[in-house]
Symmetry: C2
Subunit: 338 residues, 2 copies
């Protein structure tokens, strides 16, 4: 048989040779230590050290059909909500020995699809997806090559995978519950477009709080704005100022911060005349001139949970029940609505 010149010089074979064992033993030492005598392990590790051996994951990925890569597909990354998720998911991935590919779809379905293809080509073990379109069928591509998709902030139309989300209805409930309990009079909800599911859920929760506390729905005035920005919040509050409101629920922190400004410009003080509650607990909320009472979303828990569900699914041999986890938001009290 012809000798393999390279294999003896680098790679697992070289380690085996130096340690005086076979390649299988080296592989076992690395992946199933309990199958190898401690003494042998020590010899192997010494050889690894000596040769500066770095295992080649492409090779094991090829051999095993799947590797230690997972993908995270998000619409944006320059957005504290998503970057917090990315941070948490990346930490969890690393702790489990996985590398996390960052895929920013930039609100473009074509880009999202391109990322899905690339992850499929890399034979990623799975992907955590904050999907753009209601149509999640394109994620099927991933299943075709053995990658497991996990949804964030949306559930599967048919029970076809794991998902994690934050209970937006509950968040809306908490916000309004606080406002009605601490004020008497008209409250306005400044909300984004109704084609954003989160906006609908938050308002639904807000109105549910009214019902639960036996308060007429007429106490809550809806005000819809086209964009969820500070400017729109300011404009909305200026329009609302003359209506005699005592409370404002901005369905994200930008709207709420804008509302505080608009109220101020209209001569109303926060929280003296009007209490304001936001949603999201971005840095913006704490850093605002009058710190914002808001709904905190457990972004880190969300990110870690997504990875956890994904790894569960990967490691589950064949028996695996998909799981749809719903996380609880919480109220953070600050000056704007004490």
């Amino acid at each position: 048989m012809v000798a393999k010149p390279r294999a003896d010089e680098l790679g697992l074979a070289a380690v085996a040779k130096l340690a005086g064992v076979s390649t299988a033993t080296v592989s076992n030492t690395l992946n199933r230590p309990q199958m190898v005598t401690p003494t042998t392990q020590a010899r192997v590790h010494a050889a690894i050290e000596e040769l500066q051996f770095v295992p080649n994951r492409s090779a094991s990925a090829l051999r095993n059909g799947t590797g230690h890569l997972i993908g995270l597909i998000v619409p944006e990354i320059v957005n504290p909500f998503y970057s917090a998720i990315a941070k948490a998911a990346g930490d969890a991935a690393r702790e489990s020995g996985y590398v996390m590919a960052l895929c920013v779809s930039d609100d473009d379905p074509d880009v999202e699809l391109e990322h899905i293809k690339m992850l499929a080509e890399q034979r990623a073990a799975g992907a955590i997806v904050v999907p753009l379109a209601a149509d999640v069928s394109r994620l099927a591509r991933l299943r075709l090559v053995g990658a497991h998709p996990v949804l964030v902030d949306r559930e599967w139309p048919v029970d076809d995978g794991c998902s994690v989300a934050i209970d937006d209805e509950r968040g809306g409930y908490l916000a309004l519950e606080h406002l009605v309990r601490t004020t008497e009079g008209l409250i306005a909800i400044i909300n984004g477009p109704t084609d954003i599911p989160q906006c609908v859920e938050r308002e639904k929760g807000a109105r549910a709080a009214l019902d639960a506390l036996d308060i007429p729905q007429s106490r809550l005035l809806s005000f819809e704005v086209p964009e969820m920005t500070i400017e729109q919040g300011t404009a909305a509050a200026e329009a609302l100022a003359s209506r005699g409101i005592v409370g404002v629920f901005g369905t994200n922190d930008q709207l709420a911060v804008g509302a505080i400004r608009g109220l101020g410009q209209a001569g109303l003080s926060v929280p003296g005349d009007v209490a304001v509650v936001g949603y999201g607990d971005l840095a913006l909320a704490a850093e605002s001139l009058t710190p914002l009472t808001t709904i905190r979303q457990p972004k880190d828990v969300l990110g870690r949970a997504a990875v956890e569900l994904l790894l569960n699914e990967i490691e589950a041999a064949g028996d695996h029940r998909h799981e749809a986890r719903l996380l609880e938001p919480s109220l953070v009290l600050r000056s704007s609505a004490p």
Copy 2:
């Protein structure tokens, strides 16, 4: 010869069989189209479509010694500066067919090292690193396995790789030039700790502007704070308010926004009594109650340039001159210092 049951059913071989060509032709159609007759290409593509064939990059990575993965190592991601870089780098990577692994070191050298190891194991083609420690020798691990490290925001001690950075001295120069040209009187620079290189550079540039314009250094008062936060900016401005200053240069946007608040609390108006310039052009700057004049850092250019340098180095056969690129910041005029 014994038949290979699997290879005929999926993978490149199956495509070859269906298209009635050899595996080499399929490979060529995919990677060197110019070497294949258009007619044949069409047949191959039809077969690919038909079989829903997804090439396996682990296999080609193994074969080629390196794959289509690059890493981005950053200290944080929940920070608009780094997330903007990540966005740009990720876009550039995707456009070139690379997947980008996000590695957040969380200001921990051990975590950074762990990421380096993992990228080495994956045989990443390269890594873009915003390094933590002054010691970049650990990046050598990457070179050992054929991965090319590119530094961001720091140059190589010895000319041993490519790097990109933003000219902080120039930024400081621009900030102070603007302040001295639009005011008359004492200016304060509120700066972070001198062990942060960027802080030193920015102040150096600020003082260089004074020299260049023949203004005595005594017109610029240095004020150092332990942390570059809004709170510290506020505190600094309050302390400075009684000194009769007419201008403030906050060496990041947080300090500048804080300064505006502190000045306001001391009864001084911005820009009426005092002009304020920040640094960074974060969303915070534009969204501040009095929008902030600041120094814009070309974060997107930085991210794309890093990938460009990296790919240049990867694709350069053997002849490659390392490049250290320095990017120009610019002044963005807003209300705080018109």
